[in-house]
């Protein structure tokens, strides 16, 4: 274990003798690859999970904030980059506050729908208007309490941008008959990446919104093709065997849902790969290689296992997912990882930090 803390990165191209007098054409500096590794184990996590669920039940949900911190700490501590674990430093109380607010808002929304549609629409409006603000607060919270090698991440809030891309931009979607949707998603990812800081450097999001279009077009084609296929099969069967039974209709709904599920997994894997791939931190890049097919198999296995075990396979499912994600993420670095420094713009962030403490919350978006 001790050794891996200082695991030497795999060297790229070989080094040059320092005293060479021959002037060579400029060579790109050797790139090093650092792996993300996940060491969590299902059996170990199951014990943590079940004890925390039981305690949350016995305390009528109050302990769930402590449970969340323990879970996060377990997953962070077991995720290592270049042999060094990540660190989750949040305290449970702000999380409890955030959960109480989220619980009230969404619970009220769900109940209101049964009694008065007008009231539900008002609550929906309130949630919609609050959403961009909550997203920014959540990102700030998450970044501030995530740390690696003793340095914390930071998310610079820009509420105007957040409202632009998480609220007003959605008006473009119906106006463009849906064509603006990938563009809006791309802007959202760009906003999230661009506002993050680590080690005194800024994240930059490269590429253009055009990169997101093929993914969404393929997904739409997938759903469309699936529905056509299912309709043809069902039509043929129905004409042969007459009016379909209740069983058959449930099965049909399941089949159509499966098509949506495949499209959703495809989008999730491609967009994650693109987003990681287009993020840059002062020359450091990420490489995400999630496979849509692998991920679909993983999610499907998780869902079946969770249903069959009445939820007891949840820890196993969560560990499997974290393992797969870590195994398909790499850091491609132009230099070693020792030169990141703490942020020094204290004057700019002082007020922000104070405000943060007042409104600290995490609603787990």
């Amino acid at each position: 274990m001790e050794e891996s803390e200082f695991a030497a990165p795999a060297e790229g191209a070989g080094g040059m003798p320092a005293d060479s007098v021959i002037i060579l054409p400029p060579v790109a500096p050797p790139l090093r690859e650092y792996r993300f590794e996940f060491y969590g184990e299902a059996a170990e996590y199951f014990r943590i999970w079940i004890v925390n669920v039981a305690l949350s039940i016995l305390t009528f949900g109050v302990f769930s904030a402590w449970a969340k911190v323990r879970t996060q700490r377990y997953f962070y501590a077991n995720t290592r980059l270049a042999g060094v674990p990540f660190e989750y430093l949040a305290q449970p109380l702000p999380i409890l506050k955030g959960r109480a607010i989220a619980f009230t808002l969404f619970g009220g929304y769900a109940l209101a729908g049964q009694f008065s549609i007008t009231l539900q629409l008002w609550l929906l409006g309130l949630i919609t208007v609050l959403a961009p603000w909550l997203i920014v607060r959540g990102l700030m919270f998450h970044a501030r309490y995530s740390s690696w090698r003793g340095l914390t991440f930071r998310f610079l809030p820009r509420y105007g941008q957040a409202y632009r891309w998480y609220l007003f931009a959605y008006l473009l979607v119906p106006l463009s008959l849906g064509l603006a949707f990938p563009y809006v998603k791309w802007q959202q990812k760009r906003f999230v990446v661009d506002q993050h800081r680590f080690g005194g450097r800024e994240f930059k999001f490269h590429g253009g919104s055009g990169d997101f279009y093929p993914t969404y077009l393929i997904a739409v084609g997938l759903v469309f093709g699936w529905i056509v296929l299912v309709s043809i099969v069902v039509g043929t069967l129905a004409s042969k065997f007459g009016y379909p039974s209740a069983w058959f209709r449930y099965g049909l709904a399941g089949f159509i849902y499966f098509g949506y599920f495949l499209a959703w997994v495809y989008i999730a894997s491609r967009i994650a790969n693109l987003t990681y791939g287009q993020a840059e931190l002062d020359g450091y890049r990420l490489r995400s290689t999630l496979g849509a097919f692998d991920l679909a198999k993983l999610y499907l296995g998780n869902t079946i296992a969770i249903l069959l075990t009445l939820g007891m396979a949840i820890p196993w499912a969560a560990i499997r997912l974290a393992q797969y994600r870590a195994a398909h993420l790499e850091l491609v670095a132009p230099r070693d990882l020792d030169g990141f420094t703490a942020e020094w713009q204290r004057d700019e962030s002082a007020l922000g930090a104070e405000m943060d403490n007042l409104f600290d919350l995490d609603i787990g978006l």
Partner: protein, 353 residues
């Protein structure tokens, strides 16, 4: 005390330093490559112990120490994070884990099968009449969208039904809030009746056409009034919302398995609740009919008529069915009819065609 290995980060640069740490009285001695730092134990923040993961010690200036030796850290800070130290011990203790499993399963099952229904019953009692009224109005407003059309029954038939209806509800505690509404149902609904909160009882033309006499109408009516008197729709809504909440709480931040993990238990339990409501409404109907001098045998006859009209719907008597098996309901209605006959020896048995 002997020193343990640790990794030190100064909080300013991402460079790791290999150090040795030891507890010296009420301070921590950190020894690096040619340097030494002493930090008072009281000024150090410690993360809690979780499984075999490392501990992080945050020093007052933001520097961090990552220590893998959990026993050493616990020895330096014996009185820190007592709550979470206890939780950690539970997590590592096989008996505690087994107990947690039992607590989780037992309390979830209790909440789902007993707690929620009881809670919903109590809450429903405190929901003001105006709210039920609104709920009923909302649903009523949606009916045309599902293909419900104004009733095509001849006016005199409607009049007779309304008279029978008024005569039946007269003796009830909320007699004045009951109303009979008639609709022509779309294809998929067919012969059916249902109660909306606020005392609106809906019959479809198709069902009226199926019924042979007014007593059969009263039999269905009594069942629907049972739903309303027990506030079943309101309770069903409350219980289903509760299920979504419980499932979401237990599954927590899985995020992986998707909506289906919540949807399937919600659906199955909704059916479970629905069946117990149907039985409750049946029991109410048998008693109410007897009180109106109508034999529950009429109920059994209607069930047979419906079974004949919708033969396909009787295949699914499994767990996901929203109604108890028809044969079971008929048997119970006939048992109630026998009791009725015993109590009314002179009453004429309705003719069973």
């Amino acid at each position: 005390m002997s020193a343990v290995d640790a990794v030190f980060f100064d909080g300013k640069v991402s460079l790791p330093h290999r150090v040795r740490v030891s507890g010296v009285a009420d301070a921590l001695a950190i020894e690096g490559d040619g340097w030494r730092r002493d930090v008072s134990l009281g000024k150090v923040r410690v993360t809690t112990r979780i499984a075999g993961t490392h501990r992080t010690l945050v020093l007052p200036d933001g520097a961090q120490l990552q220590v893998r030796d959990n026993e050493a850290v616990d020895a330096w800070f014996p009185r820190r994070n007592r709550l979470e130290a206890l939780v950690d011990r539970l997590e590592r203790h096989a008996t505690a884990v087994a107990a947690a499993l039992v607590v989780t399963i037992a309390s979830t099952a209790w909440v789902v099968f007993f707690g929620l229904p009881i809670a919903a019953e109590h809450v429903a009692r405190y929901v003001p009449e105006s709210v039920s009224e609104r709920m009923g109005e909302e649903t009523l407003g949606l009916l045309p969208r599902f293909g419900f059309k104004p009733s095509q029954l001849p006016p005199d038939r409607k009049q007779r039904l309304q008279t029978a209806f008024k005569g039946y509800v007269e003796g009830l505690p909320h007699a004045d809030h009951y109303r009979l509404l008639l609709f022509q149902a779309p294809e998929g609904v067919g012969a059916n009746a249902f109660a909306l909160p606020g005392g609106k009882i809906v019959f479809t033309d198709q069902l009226i056409a199926l019924l042979k006499n007014d007593d059969q109408f009263r039999a269905v009516l009594a069942h629907e009034i049972g739903h309303e008197e027990h506030r079943h729709l309101l309770r069903s809504v409350l219980q289903s919302s509760g299920i979504v909440l419980v499932t979401a709480l237990v599954t927590g931040d899985v995020g992986s398995a998707g909506a289906i993990v919540i949807a399937i238990p919600t659906f199955l339990l909704h059916s479970h609740y629905s069946r117990s409501f149907e039985s409750e409404a049946d029991e109410f109907a048998f008693a109410s009919l007897a009180a109106h001098d109508v034999s529950p045998a009429n109920f059994a006859q209607v069930m047979r008529l419906l079974q004949k009209a919708h033969p396909a719907s009787e295949k699914g008597t499994a767990y996901w069915s929203t109604h108890p098996p028809t044969l079971e309901r008929i048997a119970r209605a006939e048992a109630a009819a026998q009791e009725f006959d015993a109590a009314h020896p002179q009453a004429e048995a309705p003719d069973d065609d």
